[in-house]
Amino acid sequence: MAKKRILLIDDEPGIRQVIPVAFRVIASWEALVADSCQAGIAIAEAEQPDAILLDVMMPEMDGITAFGLMQVNPAIKSIPTILLTAKAQASDRQRFAQLAIAGVITKPFKAPDLVKQIRLILNWND
């Protein structure tokens, strides 16, 4: 089975530093990282990752807007996307539920839990 490749789009340097390590050491997944949505969409088009972890709250373009763009982009619209959000309010969850996303993972989380939740959402049995 080919190694899973997950694109992580997050403006937080700490996140971009620790999650790839977690993916590698826990699940042997390869992490692609982007610090902005624009960069992320470009990488997704180019690299066609197995999944996208998309932070919601980012400057310039937020995750929701970026997801909308991805949905209308035939090259990447089929890539399952999981939202990462620090927003835990019910209203946010309702908003996200209306989107055609694979799932939502709420920050913070421990590294093994993150991997577990991704596997659960994406139904990966690797």
Partner: protein
Amino acid sequence: MDDRTKTKDELIRELRALRAEVAALKQNTSAGDSPINFPLLHSVIDNYSSILATRTQLLTVKKKKIENDTWQQDLKKRQQLEQEVIQREQLFTGFFNAATQSNVGLFILDTNLRFLHINQTLAEINGYSIEFHLGKFLPDLLPELGPTLTLLLQNLIETGQPISNFEVSGYLPSQPGVLRHWLDSFFPIFSPAGEIIALGGMVLEISHYKQAIEALRQSEFNLRTAQRIASVGSWHWDCATNSVSWSEEMYQIHGCDPNQPPPQGKELEPYIHPDDFAHYQQLTDRALAGYSFEVDLRIVRPDGEIRYIEARGEPGVFNDKGELLHLSGTVLDVTARKRVELALRQSEFALREAQRIASVGSWQWQQEEEKISWSEEIYRIHGLDPNSPVPDMEKMNKYIHPDDLEIHQAMRDASIKGEAYEYDLRIIRPDGEVRYVEARAKPGTFNERGELIGLFGTLLDVTERKRVEAQLRQSEANLARAQKIAHIGSWEYDIASQTCTWSEELYRIHQLDPSLPAPVGEEMDRLIHPDDLWINQQLKEASFLGRPSCVDMRIVRQDGEVRHIEVRGEPVFNPQGQITSWVGTVMDITEQHKLERLKSEFVSVVSHELRTPLTSMQVALSLLDQQLVDPTSEDGQGMIHVAAEGVDRLVRLVNDILDLERLNSGKVGIEKQLCYPANLVQSAIDQMKDLANQYNIKFEVSVVPCTIRADPDRLIQVLTNLLSNAIRFSPEHSIIKIHVETFHETSLHDLLPATFIKFMVMDRGRGIPSEQLESIFERFEQVDASDFRKKGGTGLGLAICRSIIQQHGGRIWAESSLGKGSSLYFTLPILEGGRDGKETHPIN
């Protein structure tokens, strides 16, 4: 022929011939001829009866003469007889003349109704001279009276019966067209043989008497008529006979039979009302003493009806001895007047009471009275004595509030023109109390020449109403103010009229013109945000069901601004349980909504800002903790570094949050002291030196020397914040300018001129979009949060700066040019003349 041989008939014939002869002669002679020129002849004619008698004696003497045949003796006798005849003729003439002097007409006619003798009085009555009458036929001379008199006299000749005191009326030639009246007596004159030989008559003119009688009758008739019309009766009491007489109207007034004698003495007592009897007796005594009187009494008619009379008595008439002869007086039936007076009194009383209860006074002016009269209530309204005269113009001005004198003048002007008016004005009572009145006047009345003859107006005391109105206005103003402060409007929808009324604040919430009618139906729907029309529909349905309701919805103002409102409504029921209207409130909750949104956003941002470093930390620490990563490896070191940075960041964030919260809540006081801006700037630069060096950034400082009163630590905190931001966003090797100067401006605190100090920190960074120049001072409103975090910011620094500066009485703002850099300014009041900026103290 010798007279002595003549028979009686012969003598008569001779006499007649002689009489006719004399008459002809008289007629032919001048008018100035007097019958005295023919005394004998006249006497013969006029004293026909005596002559006849004398002739008879002469005949007798003649017979004797013949018998005795002694002529001389006869002649002597004859002369004696003639002398006797002359005397008789003189007596006869004297009698006729005397009758003339007594205005009694006498005449003698022959049986053919020819005048044989007439005296001067009757001649003048008839309008001819005596001479003209003689020998003329009566019917010829008096054509008007002829038929009547001829009939009478012929009847007399036939019957021989005298006619006495026969009243004759008619017209005579002496005064054609004037009806005259006489009292005539006719009698036959007989010969000794009993034969009617002539007719005598006596005429007394009674025209004046008849006229007087007629006038008296007319006068009495007029009096009776006048008494009847005026309901005035008269009475007369004669002392000598102790009897009373009544006029016809007296009977009418007393309801008595006019054919019966009037009640006398005590008989009158039952006719007087018992309650007025004592009074009546007093008057009677007074009248008997000879005094006049005038009094109102009640009388009782025989049928029991009570009438009012006005009785007047004339002063008594006394004789020389001072004894009362008679009394007279009048009685006027004033029942109708009394009833009208009573009704008027009742009406006036009712009007007075009504005016008193309603606090309405009235006044009127009548041209004939030439004065204004006030009702009692007007006096009361003015606080004046009702018995005092109506104040004149000058005095009246003192009773008008000085501010309302113009109104009073306008009222007068209108009155002079007879125009209607209605004014509200204030009056001042003599005790100084100010009252509000409503003065009204109806249009004046004018005569046919267009002259003003009457005015009528009212004065209504509206003080209480004005007070209530003022209270109501105050209450409404308070309510409106309260509504304005609370942004709560109120409304009422009337089902019957399908109209809605809005409070002023509701118009303000909708930004609509309050002079327009409140919108209903579709007009109202147009004011509601299209997405919230369903909410309005729900509200209506709840209202129809009679349920109170409360909904939040959005409205769209004319300028397109969307506002959030909370609408509450509840039905109003009538006693029958039917809904008559709905009332409710509308609260503008836009700010509240915004605050809630901000709060929600803040929680969301804080949540994000806390969770973001926590996420990195938790992932890193979980990898280390579960030994998935070797702490000594490169990954392990990276994990430790991320965790450590995260902790630092959280500490800064928590500190800033707490700091801001304490500043905003006033839990941290500003401790002011004298300080020098240059020192503050230097301290801030010292703290930022390392960071600046890190980016190779230099400072260019220019500070005006002055003293301020401020909390130095807090100002240094502001300056380091601004410098920190400037450093983080400035390109490397750039210069940050720090400039401090003073300027003069009107203080917003007390609106007095004041000196301020202005700090400026200018960088060469990428600048701030204009729409964010205000919001950067809000919490977590960085231009670019990721940049900020990269540079170690928490997103709360400028919010903290604003709080500190505001608590120093200054203000902070930003100016920027995108791509060229930003300048952050703040001002503080400078110490001058003992004045200072606002101080704050910590709240325990």
